[in-house]
């Protein structure tokens, strides 16, 4: 097989924004997201993978051939594995877009050091929200974690770290209405779900960890997706388009972890190879 990896930025994706990966099998003491990304890239290079910096803006079929459109041209392939990943989902409240980079952030490990001895508000209740809230206590003097439910969805050990951290205060059953500020974040407007009371919470930063949104916009109408845009596939990772497979966080599934993505990658690769033998030989 002649294989090329088309990479929009550099390999790693969301793993690169993870401070410590604690659930990668075999790395008992955890491994930094940087290191794990590098190791995976080097491992693939060792077996002869070619990496090309390019962006795909369209996928189409020409008979049995898949045609990938880039900003500068076209790449033709017999089979394609979509591993386009996901990115942090936005809150979707007024002020958010205007204040990105001016106090609104989706990456604690990137922007935490800008908030030394300041007050930050985090949104979310899952694993990422719990990890990042704890990470931010290294810098911030106070971290509020705003969650719409009355308990965290994060794994037990992560939730415990949040609840036991004296710098973190969880604001249960509250939702954001607006992020306020002119040139920088000054406050977030919150609503308490129990009594509908609204109030402004002054802060210097607003960190958003409310799940992910798949990078599948360019595939709409090309392969079947679920309601949120995650790619639907069979148990061999085959999508609704013949010869097109999917792996990783862009897939419709229950659990998004690196180990799951790696497993799907293995299945997709094997299935793609079988497909090539059956259809193209």
């Amino acid at each position: 097989m002649d294989v090329v990896l088309l990479e929009r930025l550099s390999p790693g994706g969301q793993v690169l924004t993870t401070d410590v990966v604690e659930n990668w099998p075999g790395d008992v003491d955890g491994v930094s997201g940087f290191e794990l990304s590098d190791r995976m890239r080097d491992h693939a290079l060792k077996f002869g993978l070619k990496i090309k910096n390019d962006e795909i803006i369209k996928l189409a079929s020409d008979g049995q051939i898949k045609v990938l459109t880039t900003p500068e041209g076209e790449i033709r392939a017999k089979a394609v594995i979509l591993a386009v990943g996901a990115q942090p989902r936005k809150l979707g409240v007024p002020g958010e877009d205007l204040l990105i980079g001016k106090g609104v952030s989706y990456c604690g490990t990137c922007d935490g050091p800008f908030y030394r001895e300041q007050t930050v508000v985090c949104f979310g209740g899952g694993d990422t929200a719990a990890e990042e809230a704890v990470f931010l206590t290294r810098f911030a003097k106070k971290v509020y974690l705003v969650h719409r439910r009355d308990q965290l969805r994060a794994a037990g050990v992560l939730a415990e770290r949040v609840l036991n951290n004296p710098k973190i205060e969880v604001l249960w059953s509250q939702v954001p209405l607006e992020i306020k500020g002119q040139d920088k974040v000054e406050a977030v407007r919150l609503k308490k779900l129990k009594d509908e009371v609204e109030y402004d919470l002054p802060c210097d930063g607003a960190f958003v960890f409310v799940g992910t949104s798949p990078n599948t916009g360019f595939l709409r109408g090309v392969v079947d997706m679920d309601r949120e845009g995650f790619i639907i596939h069979d148990r061999n990772q085959h999508t609704s388009m013949n010869g097109v497979f999917a792996a990783g966080d862009c897939c419709s599934k229950l659990l998004r972890q690196i180990v799951v993505a790696a497993g799907e990658g293995a299945v997709a690769t094997y299935a793609a190879q079988r497909y090539l033998e059956e259809v193209h030989e």
Binding site: G12, L16, F34, E55, K102, T109, C110, D111, P113
Partner: protein, 109 residues
């Protein structure tokens, strides 16, 4: 690292960027920032592609905290396009090469 990418700091920022005859793109980054690392090869490619027309520079916000403070930078990577010493465009986050090219072309036009 590419020879086309200039390293700037708090001390030479004014001379290299603000007083530059050609427009300049500055990548504000830090070693602990994953998306900064993700976008680094794209910045290098842009430096090569626009050589002579655009000055491309990197500023480490850990080593030079004064300049990012002046521009209100609270998230990285942030890329600022300077033209005649003024901010012409500002982009936060690891965006694609085509996105950056469009922003640069608009300023060079």
């Amino acid at each position: 690292m590419s020879d086309n990418v200039l390293q700037v700091n708090d001390d030479n920022f004014e001379a290299e960027i603000l007083s530059s005859d050609t427009p300049a793109l500055v990548d504000f980054w830090a070693s602990w920032c994953g998306p900064c690392r993700a976008i680094a090869p794209v910045v290098e490619e842009l430096a090569e592609q626009y050589a002579g027309k655009l000055k491309v520079a990197k500023l480490n916000v850990d080593e030079s905290p004064k300049t990012p403070g002046q521009y209100g930078i609270r998230a990285i990577p942030t890329l600022i396009l300077f033209k005649d010493g003024k901010v012409a465009d500002q982009i936060t986050g690891a965006v694609s090469k085509s996105h950056l090219q469009a922003a640069i072309d608009k300023q060079l036009a």
